[in-house]
């Protein structure tokens, strides 16, 4: 396991590269869902309909 | 012309105009875009003399000399047509090896020796496990061929090292 984590001495480069990539992956999921939630809430207010509580 | 067709013409026109402008600009700046010069270009006097520039090529096998007790080293950069000797003092990257691509930044001296103050390694696009590399090496008499990606098949005579993009 520690051999895997050390990445043949390149741990300081390999792991930050993977971390930055999956940071972007998750930030994009989160921000897309937030944008949809906000757009729905906005439309609900404007159309005067009560959506399900989220 | 319908409005839609006019808009198609507009979009195509913008694209064509920008492409032509871009192509012309790139042609004009061809030399500035050149990241490094290979030994043939240096020999032909295309590289700026008296100014800093980058020299790129392969490290000729058997030419790397390190002086013990210091970081000073000499080696020869080649494109398999011309050679340029290089002097450097400092730490080299992990991939600095004989028969590997290298890009040296520095100045060409009057004695024809390129004095580098920065060494970057350049690797090619071929990836393989160590066992496969060993097998290829054994098949080629203990040396890695210049294009190991194609060396799985019988090597073609006169293969140009694809690591080196020679100036068209």
């Amino acid at each position: 396991m520690s051999e895997f984590l050390s990445m043949g001495g390149y741990a300081a480069f390999v792991w930050p590269a993977y971390a930055v990539t999956f940071l972007a992956v998750f930030v994009n999921i989160w921000s897309a869902r937030r944008a949809l939630r906000r757009a729905r809430a906005h439309a609900q207010r404007r159309l005067g309909v009560a959506g399900e509580p989220s | 012309m319908t409005p839609r067709r006019r808009r198609i013409v507009l979009v195509v026109g913008i694209l064509a105009g920008v492409s032509i402008a871009g192509a012309l600009a790139l042609r004009a700046f061809q030399e500035n875009v050149m990241f490094f010069f290979d030994p043939t270009q240096v020999a032909a006097g295309e590289a700026p003399t008296g100014e800093r520039f980058r020299l790129g090529g392969m490290v000729r096998p058997g030419t790397v000399e390190r002086r013990s007790g210091s970081l000073d080293m000499n080696f020869v950069v080649t494109d398999f047509k011309r050679d340029v000797p290089v002097r450097y003092s400092g730490v080299v990257p992990d991939l600095f090896r004989e028969n590997q691509g290298v890009v040296a930044h520095g100045r060409l001296g009057a004695d024809g020796v390129f004095v580098a103050d920065e060494i970057l390694a350049k690797h090619d696009e071929n990836y393989m496990p160590p066992e496969v590399a060993r097998a290829i090496k054994d098949k080629h008499g203990g040396v890695m061929p210049v294009d190991p990606g194609k060396a799985v098949d019988p090597p073609s005579p006169g293969a140009v090292p694809l690591n080196l993009k020679l100036n068209p």
């Binding site: 895997f4 990445m7 043949g8 001495g9 390149y10 480069f13 390999v14 930050p16 590269a17 993977y18 930055v20 990539t21 994009n28 897309a32 869902r33 944008a35 949809l36 757009a39 729905r40 906005h42 439309a43 609900q44 404007r46 159309l47 009560a50 | 839609r4 808009r7 913008i14 694209l15 920008v18 492409s19 871009g22 790139l26 875009v33 050149m34 990241f35 490094f36 290979d38 790129g56 080299v92 990257p93 992990d94 991939l95 600095f96 970057l120 390694a121 350049k122 090619d124 696009e125 071929n126 990836y127 393989m128 160590p130 066992e131 496969v132 590399a133 990606g149 694809l162 993009k165 100036n167």
Partner: protein, 245 residues
């Protein structure tokens, strides 16, 4: 020729519902493929004969670089369709691409720097390939800045579409930079006409990751597209049905 399918694509409620239906069909395969690609790239693939385990950065670097170029092409195409056919949904699609593309351009630059330091010996050089990729980031940021700078949506659509179309010339420049000029960046290993420059045990995880990232983009883009359509159509009667349910 029957053009009804094309006209249906221009209909916001149709696209909104289609996007909602399609999203899970992209999201779940994306998640599975990325998980499999991660395992393949980090565990199953052998180390490289020159770069050892450092070469494993390729499994995040190449897919994000691919996404950065692919997303821009999708964005510019959608913008051109929006401009030519006055299709609002196409403009909304283009607008939904930009943020995702900018993120993955940053990821490709950062993972490239982290790969360049140990292998080349430097985080950054002003090389043609690297510089052109940085310009791609500025194009994305310019596109987003232009959109947010113009209050009126229709005008923002038109102005940003022109910018997106003009910037598309940078895409072949990035792709072919390593062939046209001397570059420190190596030539492509996978995205070329010739066969890939790596054995199957290294290549399969890489292709898995690239397909996974592409499907991931499709899923995220469809969610963003729904948000963008709803934002534009928030007064329409069809929106009432959608948000009430």
């Amino acid at each position: 020729m029957d053009w009804t399918w094309f006209h249906r694509l221009a209909s916001p409620p149709y696209i909104y519902r289609l996007a909602a239906t399609l999203t899970p069909w992209f999201a779940w395969p994306a998640g599975l493929l990325i998980a499999a690609g991660l395992y393949g790239g980090l565990v199953l693939a052998p180390p490289d004969y020159q770069q050892g385990d450092g070469f494993r950065i390729i499994y995040v670097h190449a897919p994000s670089a691919w996404l950065s170029l692919m997303i821009y092409s999708v964005m510019a195409t959608a913008a051109a369709v929006g401009l030519i056919w006055r299709m609002k949904v196409a403009h909304a699609a283009a607008a939904s691409c930009a943020g995702i593309g900018a993120w993955f351009t940053v990821v490709s630059l950062v993972t490239g720097m982290l790969w360049g330091k140990p292998m080349w010996g430097t985080y950054w050089v002003w090389d043609p390939r690297l510089t052109a990729q940085l310009i791609l980031l500025f194009l994305y940021l310019g596109y987003m800045g232009l959109r947010s700078g113009i209050e009126d949506t229709a005008r923002a659509d038109r102005a940003s579409a022109v910018l997106a179309i003009v910037g598309v010339v940078n895409i072949p420049i990035i792709r072919f930079s390593v062939e046209w000029w001397n570059s420190i960046h190596q030539a492509p290993s996978v995205m070329k006409m010739d066969r890939p420059s790596m054995p199957a045990e290294m290549l399969i995880p890489l292709l898995t990751m690239m397909v996974g990232f592409t499907l991931y983009f499709a899923a995220i883009m469809l969610v963003r597209l729904r948000a963008e359509i709803l934002r534009r159509e928030r007064s329409a009667s069809w929106a009432r049905e959608v948000v009430a349910s």
